[in-house]
């Protein structure tokens, strides 16, 4: 394997890791506040559909006087993509609100709510997609301003001339779509919010000991809703990236393909911490890149089947959960509805 091939692998690692990272940080906010969220997958899927659908509509040509049955688009340029992102975030937040209502207000089972949200998204996206576009649950191909294209970072070609780090900058770091950079920036931002602000302190406190927060006169309900909504925003970005920032350029049914659960795995792997979450997502992104580039990996003595590579994130998570390599301890009040004492 030469350097170019390796960088190609890293390039797809970055692209694979982005939705994982956004969803993983989304789960981080929610679970740190004590709300288990196995509905990351569903929120991402709903967002992927809403953003692709709205972007396609916004970029379609404007018809002043549509004949019956014809739908006029908005005829927007590059703003169409951003309108799509907004729609994705809105769809994801609506699902997050549902999860919050079930698990915070009604004190229902958070895991069951998450399961329901995953199925709901899988069903509704195709139903609505079929009703709107009649394309078997897909959205129209996104072109032009309706999708994100890679940005060339400054001086990519100049720095690219430097051996080794040059091509790394040019081929791996540069040329990604803007959502990739947003995802990367979210890591320090999340760390700062959680560990350096009053909001973050309270958020972590409701996840560890909500009773203490309540005693201090701070609303546990409001704090948890805030966390769940932030989770919705980040899942919305993750979904928007999937349908608008990748080569898919549109929504295909079930396009999240278990990424919500890999993100969940990464969250546990990272022990609910932002920077380790970045490394976990990059690792799982690399595994995915290797799995899709090479069918079976020949390591001399024996051949690692591609299925093993695909299962590796899950196996690693189980190992971590089992506590054989460092113990992953979830937030103490996770999964428990808070009942105010009377």
């Amino acid at each position: 394997m030469d350097l170019a091939e390796l960088f190609q692998l890293f390039d797809s690692t970055m692209r694979n890791a982005t939705p994982l990272l956004l969803a993983c940080l989304a789960g981080l906010f929610s679970e740190r506040a004590g709300i288990f969220d196995i509905g990351l997958e569903g929120k991402m899927l709903a967002a992927a559909f809403a953003s692709a659908g709205v972007a396609a509509w916004a970029a379609a040509p404007y018809v002043a006087d549509p004949f019956p049955g014809q739908i006029s688009g908005l005829g927007l340029g590059w703003t169409a993509a951003w309108l799509g992102v907004m729609a994705g975030i809105a769809a994801s937040m609506a699902m997050a609100l549902l999860h919050g209502f079930a698990s915070i207000t009604l004190r229902g089972n958070q895991l069951i709510s998450g399961v329901a949200i995953n199925f709901l998204a899988a069903g509704v996206t195709v139903l609505v997609g079929e009703a709107l576009f009649s394309m078997g649950g897909q959205t129209p191909q996104l072109t032009g301003g309706a999708r994100f294209i890679g940005l060339t970072l400054p001086l990519a070609d100049t720095i690219g001339a430097i051996p080794v780090i040059g091509p790394f900058y040019r081929d791996v770091l540069s040329g990604q779509v803007i959502l990739v950079y947003i995802a990367l920036l979210m890591v320090p931002l999340t760390a700062w919010i959680l560990f350096s602000t009053r909001f973050g302190l309270r958020l972590r406190a409701v996840g560890e000991n909500p009773g203490a927060v309540d005693t201090a006169g701070i609303s546990v309900t409001r704090q948890r809703y805030a966390a769940v909504l932030i989770c919705g925003v980040l899942c919305g970005l993750a979904g928007a990236y999937l349908s608008m920032g990748t080569s898919a350029a549109g929504f295909v049914k079930d396009m999240t393909a278990g990424r919500g659960f890999i993100a969940l795995a990464a969250l546990i792997f990272a022990k609910w911490k932002p920077y380790p979450a970045l490394w976990a997502c990059l690792l799982f992104g690399l595994l995915e890149a290797i799995g899709s580039k090479y069918q079976n990996v020949d390591v001399g003595a024996f051949v690692i089947p591609v299925q093993f590579m695909q299962a590796l994130p899950y196996i690693l998570t189980v190992v971590i959960l089992a506590g054989f390599i460092g113990k992953a301890t979830p937030p103490k009040a996770g999964g428990q509805p808070y009942v105010k004492e009377r």
Partner: protein, 365 residues
């Protein structure tokens, strides 16, 4: 804890309202799509119950859902959420295939019991690792069983490609089972006693499912072990105080749960597909969650809920055929709404109903 609700309200009224709400919202979705929900319902009921052919398919789906529903229900009694039925049933399919492929020169009367044992053992084995990790290492069983679903999916693809695939064939599936591993379909059995039914995949597993449901009822409400499972589910601390070992209860409950999920493979792999391929589970493991919630974890409730979902699956297929604007994802949506309303939003109905009863009782006193 004060009982505010009479038993009938708890067991019948609240679930009925919740299921009604789920279907009401589903009807709204159909209206939003621009179709007539009443007509959609008629097509579904006609397609699933209107003919012996349709009813056969309904029974076939319902059989699978009884197994996976019971699997989730048994675990619920111990307050364990086994979300891994999908993987357990998938791995059990491998066990069924091994028995069937090696014994299909004999007779199904010999193959069936051995395949049942294999299905139960493979299913239980796949549940055993998450159970052990929960019991001994405190790893959250919901997460580990989700992970094991994905690991099972990868394992199944690997096994199909590397072990079972017929040489020269491209498709990842085993060879077709011979005569000796083909269990009788219901229409064949009806033929023995001179009744004519149209051909459908419903098979002898229907009776196995009823037997399993009865067995679960006996286990949970008529044995000491069942009592311990329920006690543990109600309060694990109190159970420990009463001398019940949590490790033992978690392990046994999950083994039973995994075995029940595994039995589903008899119905699909042996009863219908007659080979092992990637279509042996197809989400039935997840339907079990909805079935158990709707059936309130009681075997009778599970059977009724499984039948309802059988109607939905078969009727939904007919519906997608008759009205292409309503694809089969409608079923997934209804499934989600049922899980939502009978599961996580249950208190939305329970709180007001409780208040109503409280006011009514106070008025009478």
């Amino acid at each position: 804890m004060k009982k505010t609700l009479p038993a009938w309200a708890d067991v019948v009224l609240i679930p009925a309202i919740n299921v009604f709400l789920a279907f009401f919202v589903a009807g709204l979705v159909v209206i939003f799509i621009g179709e007539d929900p009443i007509r959609a319902m008629q097509i579904m009921i006609n397609g699933s119950l209107g003919s012996s052919y349709g009813f056969g398919y309904t029974l076939y789906y319902a059989t699978s859902f009884v197994f996976t529903g019971l699997a989730v229900a048994v675990a619920f009694h111990a307050s364990i959420f086994n979300i891994g039925g999908e993987g357990q049933a998938g791995v059990a399919g491998i066990g069924v295939a091994i028995v069937c492929l090696s014994l299909d020169q004999t007779h199904w009367l010999l193959t069936l019991p051995l395949a049942v044992i294999a299905a139960a053992m493979f299913g239980a084995a796949w549940a055993a690792i998450p159970a052990y990790l929960q019991a001994k290492r405190g790893s959250h069983i919901v997460i580990t069983t989700i992970m094991f679903n994905y690991i099972a999916a990868a394992l199944l693809v690997y096994v199909l490609n590397q072990v079972f695939k017929v040489p020269g064939s491209m498709s990842p599936e085993s060879r077709r089972f011979g005569e000796g591993a083909q269990i009788p379909r219901l229409d064949q059995m009806a033929d023995w006693i001179g009744i004519e039914l149209s051909r459908s995949p419903a098979n002898i597993s229907v009776f196995l499912a009823l037997l399993a449901a009865f067995g679960v009822w006996v286990l949970i409400w008529r044995t000491r072990l069942g009592y311990e499972i329920r006690a543990f589910g109600f309060s694990d601390k109190a159970a420990v105080y009463a001398g019940i070992s949590p490790v033992r209860i978690i392990m046994i409950t999950m083994l039973i749960s995994g075995a029940l999920a595994g039995l589903m493979a008899i119905n699909t792999v042996m009863g219908d597909l007659r080979r092992l391929n990637l279509d042996s589970v197809l989400g039935a493991g997840f339907v079990g969650i909805a079935v158990a919630l709707m059936g309130r974890s009681h075997p009778v409730g599970v059977i009724l809920a499984a039948l309802l979902f059988g109607v939905l699956y078969q009727g939904g297929a007919e519906l997608a055929f008759e009205i292409p604007a309503i694809p089969s994802q409608m079923i997934l949506t209804i499934q989600a709404l049922v899980i939502l309303f009978t599961g996580s939003l249950e208190n939305m109905v329970r709180f007001p109903v409780e208040r109503l009863f409280l006011r009514f009782n106070r008025g009478r006193a």
